[in-house]
Symmetry: C2
């Protein structure tokens, strides 16, 4: 018997701006400390709707939005990541999220990074099925069919319900086995250290 490898759940939404740098660096960061990352795509829309928001809070509150885009530019610059704002913002990320969930876990991280790189690194419209298919690559047709299956749709809804039950305030969030929530690209390092506490 040995202790299982420490792990954390990385909850992300493809429309979430700060999920972009977080997704690009979480894997290497966690691996360096021997922590496994479970990629948990979900939709913020239903959670935001409960707060009365029908749009990104960064659009609803323009002062906050202006600050966010400037801050994100500085964050991306410091990480060497390109940043191009997709139009419209936010993109509709339902299909991309369904695909991410439908993929085997071994392929989910790479697909998710590809979506973020296209969306925020190149400003592409990841709401378009053709773009999503291109990002899937080989076997796109079968994956898209699996993504749109009733079981997979239900699984994404269930993920959203779990995110709500956990009390996630936004995305990205890292959640440890002990239930600690760390919100934002700024909290990845702390989340990884917390996961090591067991």
């Amino acid at each position: 018997m040995h202790d299982p490898k420490p792990a954390l759940d990385f909850w992300y939404e493809f429309a979430s701006t700060y999920s972009y740098p977080a997704a690009m660096r979480i894997e290497a960061l966690a691996a360096a400390r021997g922590v496994a990352v479970r990629w948990r795509p979900f939709l913020l829309g239903p959670l935001f709707a409960e707060q009365g928001w029908r749009d990104s809070p960064f659009n609803i509150y323009p002062v906050k939005g202006r600050y966010m885009w400037r801050d994100l530019a500085r964050v991306c610059e410091s990480l060497g990541l390109p940043l191009i704002r997709p139009e419209p913002f936010p993109q509709n990320t339902l299909l991309a999220a369904r695909v991410a969930l439908a993929l085997p876990e071994a392929e989910r991280a790479a697909f998710s990074r590809a979506v973020y790189a296209a969306e925020f690194g190149q400003g592409r419209a990841v709401s378009e099925p053709a773009v999503v298919a291109e990002l899937i690559g080989a076997g796109a047709e079968a994956t898209l069919a699996r993504a749109q299956s009733p079981d997979n749709k239900a699984a994404l809804k269930a993920a959203g319900e779990q995110a709500k039950a956990l009390g996630l305030p936004g995305a990205p969030c890292c959640v440890t086995a002990s239930g600690e929530i760390f919100w934002g690209n700024d909290r990845l390092e702390q989340a990884v250290e917390w996961a090591l506490r067991g």
Copy 2:
């Protein structure tokens, strides 16, 4: 002729939770890099009112609020700062802000830290004039009179207008001479480095 010492404006609101750890560490952080800090008290209320908020967003959005208190507890623990939530939250900080502004700059930082330590370190009601007077210490009566003078009231209002014109999304914010805004206790280090760029 020599270049003036690099400086940054530290904009804070006494009711702002993350302004507490920021206020407790900004001075030492900046001094270690040779950066001067100008303490700029202001009120978030008028800015929030423009967003349609009549209360702290941490009260309006309880999921966000629950996360914030847990996150703040972790932040304070990591800094060795005590944390006791004042009741009610947020405190009415109008008088404390007026006093901070009325004080000579040389005394403003120490008074401000004393307010935060009482409010969030001990959970005291800094909305109470008697508590504010105690925190001023010697000369409290004269300082309170100056704080409530029409000129000083107008100066605090003007500070709020300036905060709005700058586009501050909340508190605390560090603003460099070049107009870069850094929001949050998480951005102090970056703000100080930016101030050094001139």
